[in-house]
């Protein structure tokens, strides 16, 4: 089949990206790949769960019950507060990384997320972890397309040309 024919007989290619980590470098990679796929004319959906929800959180406190409030404090802040998975040093690693990235004129996390939204990447949050961690929809950025679960994710994955998880 020629490339052209293949293109005409096929709908747009799809990618699904699963994000469970809130680590700086994993979010960085997840958003970079999402952006690259979107720029390559793919329909891209990102699903965020557990620590990955940081990427969608507004800069607000979360949690009502004691444990969830504690978690809200420990996991405080928005995407800009994502720490690297190694050499965190209570925020020092994050500060250092941000400086290094800025010096090399690499886009920061918030900029990558903004660009992803601009390119039509759709973002979804995990219903169950939001419930457990007491992070209601109102505390996530308005661009979140929907709150969904595993059934939805399986359907997307089945229809996808590739899936990545971070």
């Amino acid at each position: 089949m020629t490339d052209k024919l293949q293109e005409e007989t096929r709908e747009r290619r799809k990618a699904t990206i699963f994000v469970i980590s809130g680590d700086f470098e994993k979010l960085f990679a997840a958003f970079s790949i999402a952006i690259g796929a979107a720029a390559s004319n793919m329909d891209v959906k990102m699903f965020f769960t557990f620590w990955g929800l940081r990427a969608l959180k507004k800069n607000v406190r979360t949690g009502e019950s004691l444990f969830a409030r504690m978690l809200g404090i420990l996991e405080g802040g928005d995407i800009n507060k994502a720490n690297p998975g190694k050499y965190g040093f209570f925020g020092l690693g994050r500060w250092m990384f941000k400086k290094m990235i800025k010096n090399k004129k690499v886009a920061g996390l918030a900029e990558l997320r903004r660009l992803a939204i601009e390119l039509g990447v759709e973002m979804y949050s995990c219903d169950t972890t939001m419930e457990v961690m007491e992070i209601p929809k109102e505390k996530l950025i308005d661009e979140v397309a929907d709150t969904v679960g595993v059934g939805w994710l399986i359907e997307q994955a089945q229809q996808s040309d590739f899936t990545y998880s971070f």
Partner: protein
């Protein structure tokens, strides 16, 4: 430098890093008509492979590539 290729849009992408160069190309290619040429200049070494792959996956055509000391110059034809 090549002066015989008629360029419809110039993109200065020097200093930008992955994935930004290919993203900027994809955002701007639609500003020229089908058949039109975008001339993009990058300095990110990875963009050489990135923009080449991007063109293949999106069905656009790189009609010429020039690699200088620092600058990489792409002439990209919008194919659809």
């Amino acid at each position: 430098m090549t002066e015989d290729i008629k360029v419809d849009l110039e993109l200065d992408l020097r200093g930008l890093r992955c994935p930004l160069p290919m993203v900027r190309v994809s955002q701007n290619i639609t500003k020229v008509p089908v058949g039109g040429i975008v001339r993009a200049v990058t300095t990110d070494a990875g963009s050489l492979a990135d923009i080449t792959s991007w063109a293949r996956t999106t069905g656009n055509e790189i009609i010429k590539k020039e690699q200088g000391d620092k600058d990489i110059v792409f002439f990209i034809k919008r194919s659809k």
